[in-house]
Amino acid sequence: MNRSEVARSSSKLSSGIVGLDSILMGGYPARRASLIMGETGSGKTTLSLFFLISGLQAGESVVLVTCSEPPEHLIDYIDGYGFPGTEWAEDGRLRVVDLRPNPGDIVAGAYELTPILLRVEGAVKMSGATRLVVDMLENLDIAFQDSGRPRKELQQLFDWVTEIGLTAIMNCGTPQVSRNAGILAEYLAEYYAGCVIKLSQRVENRLMTRVLRVVKLRGGGHGTDEYPFSMDARGVGILPVSDVLLNAEASTERISTGLAELDEMLGGEGYYAGSITMISGQAGSGKSTFAAQFCKAALNTGRRALFVSFEESRTEILRNMEPVGIDLAPHLADGSLDIFPIRPTEVGLESHLLNLARRIDENNHEIVVLDPVSAFIDMGQPMEVKMMLLRLIDFLKLRGATTVMTELIKVQVNPVDEIAVSSLTNMWIQLRSVESNGEFNRLLYILKSRGLPGSNQVREFRITSQGIVIEDMYIGTGSMVFGAERAARMAIEEEETKTRDATLQRVREALDIEQKAFEARQKEIDAEHIGRMKELESEIRAIERRIATDQEARADVRRSRK
């Protein structure tokens, strides 16, 4: 591809680093100079080498101007990253212009920088380069005036670069590195650079964190945050939090949690494929076992899994899971399971991110277990740890990896997760060990289940030699009870139930008796009533008879007087 073709094809040129392209909305501005500034060792050279590699891989020719490192070292670096640097240099597509000053050089009068212009122009013209990197120009003391301005030839060089439409990266130190660096950086940023990137590094807990920030990007938006990045033998890794995720496809496929009861609590079928679940709990509450059980179930259905352990070795994991009926060894043997033990303190946060991202990319793991992510708490500022985990979660979601991460909760007061990443997960399951009557009982809650019905019940579970067993729900009177106390309470309940039944029987009988008594009394009253009625009727009849007898007697007297 020649210069005009590149010019037509795009307004951005890839930086050669996926994450950086995303931050720069496509790459460095094409046909412009970009400035990368930063302290010594902050990664300027590496970043710009990847810009060149990206062009070389696309068939372009490039020129690298070095004022600091020997050309052969720079070519070695490219070889070291796994690209044919030496070959590119030999076939002339990669030209290195060596502008390193000699420490013993002497100035004995007025001079011009014509050779620099001639050499750079010559290299660009001969190779037909589209990309140019100028590394550490500030090392050329002879290119700066005593007044502290770059000499006019540098301005001519930058003008020429812009004029012929090269896409260029100028690397430069910060004012803290040297006076010239400050002058050059300011000058480039003000007059030439369409894009300014600042790199910095800080050491915390004896581990180095590198950060990248886009200070300026002409003609369009760019990410404005500080982006941590890492560098290792394979290059630069940046995983920005990307809005691509908002478009990430939400799967409707479900993956079993490995436990029928838990699947049921989540609406019947388990986790959504590609979802992120957090399992929090105290030490010994069974977090790893839950994670392993899920892993095992997924492996049994032929999926590929990555089990990242931040605390235990491969053999420890196998040994700990075997007695609880989770045999991971066959999956490890056939390659479907990748157990990756790594100490959190072994490398910096960014390197962890990069390592995990690479491992998952290379092996296409569908299932990922991170046990426990709380191991990162001491690795930096809480916000940094959270951001790293956020970006890891983003990455996992983007990859569609169904993930279970565990988290150790030290003090069990409220369901509070210390890293506060549970809000970023789809599912949050909490395990609790509750002591009562001298024994520990394990409980499971679903605190959050985004997009799933999610049972709000608290369930007791046991870890047996056949794995985890989730007990049937027990809804007693008053508060939840578990274990032996649960059994005792059940007996009491049973007793109480019996008593109540008996009482009911009694009351029912009483009711019956009452009815009968009432009826009896009713009969008595009836009888009394009837008796009274008969009494009164006979009394009436007796009086009537007496009246009649009296009348008869009076009539007899009247008749006898006549």
Binding site: P101, V107, R119
Partner: protein, 86 residues
């Protein structure tokens, strides 16, 4: 051997050549060095090969150590110390 690299016929080139010529009027200099002039506009490869950064540049290749002296050589003291001449 001294090589003076210049870029075309500029006033600076002229002054450097003049200053170097005057230096070679000294017999102790003449007895120790020869000199030549290379125009990098005509020989760009020579500039690349000798890693020339500025013009004029006087390169002392031998006797070692190799030393580069920048400028029109008007500062005689610097020039002499660069060439190791007391």
């Amino acid at each position: 051997m001294l090589t003076l690299y210049v870029a075309g016929r500029t006033p600076l080139s002229g002054r450097a050549i003049g200053n170097l010529g005057r230096l070679f009027e000294r017999s102790d200099v003449r007895s120790r060095f020869d000199w030549e002039v290379v125009d990098i506009l005509e020989h760009p490869d020579a500039a690349e090969k000798a890693r020339i950064l500025v013009t004029p540049t006087l390169v002392k290749a031998t006797p070692p150590p190799r030393c580069l002296i920048f400028g029109d050589l008007s500062e005689t003291e610097s020039l002499l110390s660069g060439l190791g001449i007391p």
